[in-house]
């Protein structure tokens, strides 16, 4: 550092930059979320007998851990999309509504009703499943496009822009079902949410697949850089020649798409679509997951892996509350306390409270 500033400066950093980049991107920001999750799991292992128990039931793994993974899958997907939105300094509170909508569309198209002929129940399916799924995801895409257009095109503030769909989306879903819960009787559809592949929940594989694709995109293209740039300083980003509007638009579309897939999982898992309750408050959990994962709501730097861990933390917590036999009226308090604890343990301020102004 202390070399005089001459025309012939030695190339500034002797340290090779690659490992440093690693340490910035992976280990450092992820450390704390992982620890938080570890602590939570440790508690479970201590207080819940057979928490680690994994048996093989009809050809797949079965046990608490599997439950948690399976249940966390939709949240992970939602958090995945939300992470990118938040990275652009946005927010999408319509996730829950999109979940309800896509689930409903799929359920209604596949649907099937039970007809009784002389006491024997018979099931009839409607639309071919691929078509139905495509339609559901199509609906989600439309929602995303709508949000994106409002935020990127009309420059509405993200929270209000998405608030519109949050309110209306669920309404649309209910409109489709006339407020009824649509039950699905078509077996293959259930695989999505409760099927197993290589012993693990299929939903988990879906999440991994999406994660992989996005991960690759971010690694192999400049997407990550651009998203961060837009999140940190949109003006400068535009002047540097980045298509800020397009980028933001796409990010919202992606977020809704993830929500749509989550919706399919959820409705498939309960073999029905409940327009009024599906994905209720999911947006908040997703945002929570993202922040627990160490991504700042102020936009900019983000960590997909972090969000995934955040989602796991949340689901583990929920599961723990149920199995510890916590009385229902205490649930929320416990959740709140844990969230506070995790955030505090992560906060920079916590360590250097006394010597804050470095």
């Amino acid at each position: 550092m202390t070399a005089p500033q001459l025309k012939v400066v030695p190339p500034a950093p002797e340290r090779p930059a690659v490992p440093q980049r690693r340490s910035n991107l992976l280990s450092h920001p992820l450390l704390k979320p992982v620890l938080a999750l570890a602590v939570l799991l440790a508690l479970d292992i201590l207080f819940i007998p057979g928490f680690l128990k994994l048996e093989i039931k009809d050809g797949h793994l079965y046990g608490p851990l599997i439950d948690i993974l399976n249940r966390a899958a939709p949240l992970m997907l939602a958090a995945l999309g939300m992470t990118l939105v938040i990275a652009t300094r946005g927010i999408d509170i319509s996730v829950g509504a999109v979940v309800a909508l896509s689930g409903t569309v799929a359920a209604m198209l596949i649907g099937g009703t039970m007809v009784m002929n002389n006491g024997v129940p018979e099931y009839v399916a409607n639309t071919p499943m691929p078509l139905a799924l495509a339609a559901a995801l199509g609906a989600a895409l439309l929602c995303g496009a709508w949000n994106g257009a409002l935020v990127a095109g009309l420059k509405l503030q993200p929270i209000v822009a998405t608030l519109i769909l949050m309110v209306a989306g669920r309404g649309l879903a209910q409109l489709l079902t006339d407020g009824q819960i649509v039950t699905v009787y078509y077996q293959p559809f259930f695989f999505l949410g409760s099927g197993y592949l290589l012993g693990l929940p299929f939903a988990l594989w879906v999440v991994l697949a999406v994660l992989l694709v996005v991960g690759l995109l971010l690694k192999k293209t400049a997407l990550g850089l651009f998203i961060q740039t837009v999140g940190i300083n949109p003006v400068a980003a535009r002047l540097a020649g980045i298509r800020t509007a397009t980028l933001i638009f796409l990010v919202y579309v992606f977020c809704s798409l993830c929500a749509g897939m989550a919706g399919l999982m959820i409705s498939s898992n309960i073999k029905s679509a409940d327009a009024n309750n599906a994905g209720l408050m999911l947006e908040l959990d997703a945002i929570l997951a993202v922040t627990l994962g160490g991504t700042s709501l102020a936009g900019g730097k983000f960590s997909l892996a972090g969000s995934m861990i955040g989602a796991l933390i949340i689901q583990t917590l929920t599961w723990t509350i149920y199995s510890l036999g916590v009385p229902p009226e205490v649930n929320m308090v416990v959740k709140a306390i844990v969230v506070f604890a995790v955030c505090l343990s992560q906060s920079a301020g916590f360590q250097q409270l006394w010597k804050r102004r470095k």
């Binding site: 509170i93 409002l150 009309l154 420059k155 509405l156 503030q157 929270i159 209000v160 822009a161 608030l163 519109i164 769909l165 309110v167 209306a168 989306g169 669920r170 309404g171 649309l172 879903a173 209910q174 409109l175 407020g179 940190i232 300083n233 949109p234 003006v235 400068a236 535009r238 327009a275 908040l284 945002i287 929570l288 922040t291 627990l292 700042s296 709501l297 102020a298 229902p328 009226e329 205490v330 649930n331 929320m332 308090v333 416990v334 959740k335 709140a336 306390i337 969230v339 506070f340 955030c343 505090l344 906060s347 920079a348 301020g349 916590f350 409270l353 804050r356």
Partner: protein
């Protein structure tokens, strides 16, 4: 802040609204008038004094909360806990009156302090531990609701004479009446406007919202201000709770579900930027009235099913925001 500080001419988001914050608020008021006129044309008796005054009576608690939220948002933060804190205060108040038999005055004082302390605690976490407002107040939201259920999962009726009186007194006003609660709400608004405009604290809030780093460099007491802002929001939530208790005469853990979103929407519709620093506390009133009017329109229509209600609310919000946005952009260009 970046968007906000483009040199003259550059077009992006901030610029339009920046060019005239008051204009956006004005647009809101204009649109509100249009909305009301439309209602009047469509439904007989819609424009009667009492219906208009009911807007105030029914939304007094929301107005107070929105005022507090306004300060938080102006300071570049957000407070999701207000709805739950409201519920908590109704619960605590009901419990203190019903079970602990405290005198009403003491109860009110106690819950207001409780709210302020709750808010201050969140503010402290946000500032001193550099946590994100969204998350801290989200956890606060869970906590407050949870505490309600610890007190009781059932709703507790309030039969204290003072509360009952406050609930049933009718303050006559232009051919109709408003509730004491509504009156209190309006007073709070007036005070808040003064604070935001005329007090050092209020201006510091704007400065922090504009650019916290700069505010610090300019030697403003950023920490204190931020904590105070959240304390104030908590206080408003508690006061909102008291008004709500007047309104409902009951304490209940499920009161005011999702009110935080209404408050945020009201503030934003009122022309305040969520990024902080731009907007007016007075906007809260127009925002609240817009939401209230939408509700009333739907009630008057009286044909909408649950889902159509949602869709229509969404649609009206949409139309509203878009028109508001377009107009303020137009104003910026000319």
């Amino acid at each position: 802040m970046n968007t906000a500080s483009v040199t003259s001419g550059a077009a992006p988001a901030g610029a339009g609204i920046m060019s005239a914050p008051w204009f956006t608020s004005l647009v809101t008021v204009l649109l509100l008038v249009v909305l009301l006129a439309a209602g009047g044309a469509a439904y007989p008796g819609f424009l009667s004094e009492q219906v208009m005054l009911n807007l105030l009576i029914d939304n007094a608690h929301l107005l107070v909360i929105a005022v507090g939220m306004g300060f938080v948002i102006l300071a570049g933060g957000i407070d999701l806990s207000v709805g739950s804190v409201l519920a908590l205060t109704t619960m605590v108040a009901a419990w203190l009156l019903h079970t602990a038999h405290w005198p009403p005055a003491a109860v009110i004082l106690a819950v207001l302090v409780l709210g302020a302390v709750f808010g201050a605690a969140q503010g402290a976490l946000i500032h001193y531990f550099q946590l994100q407002p969204f998350i801290v107040t989200l956890a606060g939201m869970f906590l407050a609701r949870g505490l309600c259920y610890l007190i009781s999962i059932e709703s507790i009726t309030i039969d204290d004479p003072l509360f009952v009186a406050a609930s049933q007194t009718q303050v006559p006003l232009v051919g109709g009446f408003i509730s004491p609660g509504a009156a209190i709400a309006l007073i709070v608004l007036a005070i808040a406007i003064w604070v935001s405009r005329r007090s050092a604290f209020g201006r510091a809030v704007y400065a922090i919202g504009g650019n916290e780093q700069s505010a610090l460099m300019m030697g403003l007491a950023v920490g204190r201000t931020k904590v105070l802002v959240y304390a104030f929001s908590g206080f408003c939530a508690a006061l909102g709770g008291v008004l709500f208790a007047f309104y409902m005469l009951s304490g209940y853990g499920q009161h005011a579900q999702g009110t935080e979103l209404d408050a945020i929407a009201a503030v934003v519709i009122g022309g305040t930027l969520l990024t902080g620093g731009y907007g007016y506390v007075a906007g809260a009133l127009s925002g609240v009235l817009v939401l209230g009017t939408i509700q009333t329109l739907i009630a008057f229509d009286g044909t909408l099913s649950s889902w159509w209600t949602r869709i229509v609310i969404g649609a009206l919000l949409f139309v509203f925001c878009v028109v508001q946005r377009l107009l303020s952009v137009r104003s910026h260009q000319s």
